[in-house]
Amino acid sequence: MSTTTETPAPAAAPGARRVAARPAKYRGRRSRSRTGSILSHGLLMTASLIAVFPIGWLVYLSLGPDKDDYLHPGGIAGKASLSNYDHVLSHTSFFTWMGNTALIAFFTCVIGVMFAATTGYAVSRMRFPGYKKLMWVLLVTQMFPIAVLIVPMYTILADLGLIDTYGGLILVYCSTAVPYCAWLLKGYFDTIPQEIDEAGRVDGLSPFGTFWRLILPLARPGLAVAAFYTCLTAWGEVAFANTFMLDDGKYTLAVGLGSFISEHDSEWQYMSAAAVLIAIPVIVIFYLVQKHLVTGLTAGAAKS
């Protein structure tokens, strides 16, 4: 019974293999008791249910066509329809908002990960004066409450003429996402043996060439996690987007969704449909990345 060999997910990428020292995936406990096994499954099922339920419930409510359906959800099953989705997609600025958000998330992701990767590499490999201070600064940046930054940031962006532009928001998101990613990637680069760099240098590559040609491809799982993190940050951020984007046509999804409440007099059914639509792309990306997630994140956390 206990010998069921469920094949492990194939090692994610070449780099993943050297991350964890031989993942101890299979406990050698031959005879786990039957009750223990039932208990484990029971707990995991309960937890999974709790994890999935709020989202499932939202999907269910979004099918109810009337304004007050969320108050008596029992009635939805009989008259479920996709009319809310139809309304959101064809009668609101949903696609504009989604385009804005996608654009902002994409550039935040690319720029943020690039910056974070070079910084993480420099901190991981090069012992330059001030490197300890930089690490500390990266950590402290995590602690900045937006409340203290948001007003001065607003003035700076206003001075630069970046209020209500995509560039401004991208810049702001980078400034919060990059320190964490640099931290994470530093840990990941630490797990890649130094010998690879040395080999690259012997073959005549510059430090940057080593980084670009050898290390980056090996660090793909780590990069995937960083990219995922920046994307998520940009996709779901509310406070900055709310403050810096003034024009209806520039809203991100998070801000646009909020505008449903005031403008359309709390039309919950449209809001839930829109919320589901917003969550779908992220969940898709998430499942593409999740194989790398464990290795990438752990390497970062374990070594920092």
């Binding site: 964890a20 484990s40 995991l44 709020p54 959800p73 995590q142």
Partner: protein
């Protein structure tokens, strides 16, 4: 004696400071070039605002006396320099307890409760998932799901579920249990906030700790088993020490993130619910959620928050280092 002199011989002439700077530059310019973008962006968008924000805390700036542009007219700032009055007012002014200390206590409780729940549940789930179990991958995917959903969607969903006649109260009613007003009553607002934040935060801990568990060498468990250690002893003496470095990082990040958790409370209660606001959302409310907007006090809160976190981190790291020494 001679030996010492000999050892020092290879570098007799120590270059002057300028030359040293040049050498250092030649040796490290790659490193500096690689960190430059981040340093510049952080300097402009975090460092400079921080300095300016700090300056604001020393004034009585609010939205009525700050520089602003109305139509084509530009009005210059008229706020005055006050020194440390704002801090004094916040920390021991007549309304200090109502405004700062009560929120401070709640913020500490909130942070402690959330991080303990995140870590405890995360570790429990990670241990369960680290067994040789059918459907493990499937469970893991479901359990990580809350992480993938954007926060505002999550909170929106919870708001519907927690509303007076939402599903949670319907279920409670069906079981003949009291149906609290989750979004109106202070105690339950706080409970609701902790519940939602726990739901949101566990996946991160789960994933990190699962990775940590998988990197503990199997041989250690086998050795412990040979020595006759029972499950609890194996957990205490192999698992926990093996997780130490992962744990210390995720707990530190967890504390920082939870302490500064803005989105959940803000989206759950808006700027209402004064007693359920933690310091961050309270500061935001001072700066943006009222008229006139009190920029100075809001920024002063920010500086206080930052100082609290820096002090905490410094102590935490020292404590970790000492523990490491004791263990090693």
């Amino acid at each position: 004696m001679t030996v010492a002199v000999k050892a020092r011989a290879p570098r007799p002439e120590r270059p002057g400071p300028l030359l040293r700077l040049k050498y250092s530059y030649q040796k490290h310019w790659y490193a500096y070039a690689m960190i430059a973008p981040v340093v510049i962006v952080l300097g402009v968008l975090v460092g400079y605002p921080l300095v300016q924000g700090f300056y604001l805390t020393l004034t009585d700036a609010n939205s009525l006396n700050s520089a602003r542009t109305i139509g084509v007219n530009h009005i210059d700032a008229t706020y005055k320099f006050l020194g440390f009055d704002n801090y004094a007012d916040i920390l021991w002014g007549p309304t200090a307890y109502d405004r700062f200390w009560s929120h401070f206590i709640w913020t500490v409780v909130w942070t402690a409760a959330c991080v303990v729940l995140h870590y405890g549940i995360g570790l429990g789930m990670a241990l369960l998932l680290n067994q040789n179990l059918r459907g493990r991958t499937f469970y893991r995917m479901l359990l990580i799901l809350p992480w993938a959903v954007p926060t505002f969607v999550t909170v929106f969903s919870w708001r519907i579920m927690l509303s007076d006649s939402g599903i949670i109260n319907s279920v409670l009613g069906g079981l003949h249990l009291p149906q609290p007003q989750w979004l109106e009553d202070t105690t339950f607002q706080r409970l609701a906030a902790i519940m939602v934040n726990t739901w949101v935060g566990v996946p991160f801990m789960l994933v990190s700790l699962l990775g940590g568990l998988q990197s503990i060498p199997q041989e250690l468990y086998e050795a412990a088993e040979v020595d006759g250690a029972n499950a609890w002893q194996r957990f205490r003496n192999v698992t926990l020490p093996g997780l130490r470095s992962v744990s210390s990082t995720v707990i530190l990040l967890g504390v920082i993130w939870t302490f500064n958790q803005f989105a959940i409370i803000f989206l759950l209660f808006g700027t209402g619910a004064p007693d359920a606001q933690i310091l961050v959302t309270w500061a935001y409310r001072l700066g943006f959620g009222q008229q006139p907007r009190d920029y100075a006090q809001s920024a002063a809160y920010g500086v206080l928050l930052l100082s609290i976190l820096i002090v905490f981190t410094a102590f935490y790291r020292r404590w970790l280092a000492r523990n490491e020494q004791l263990a090693g």
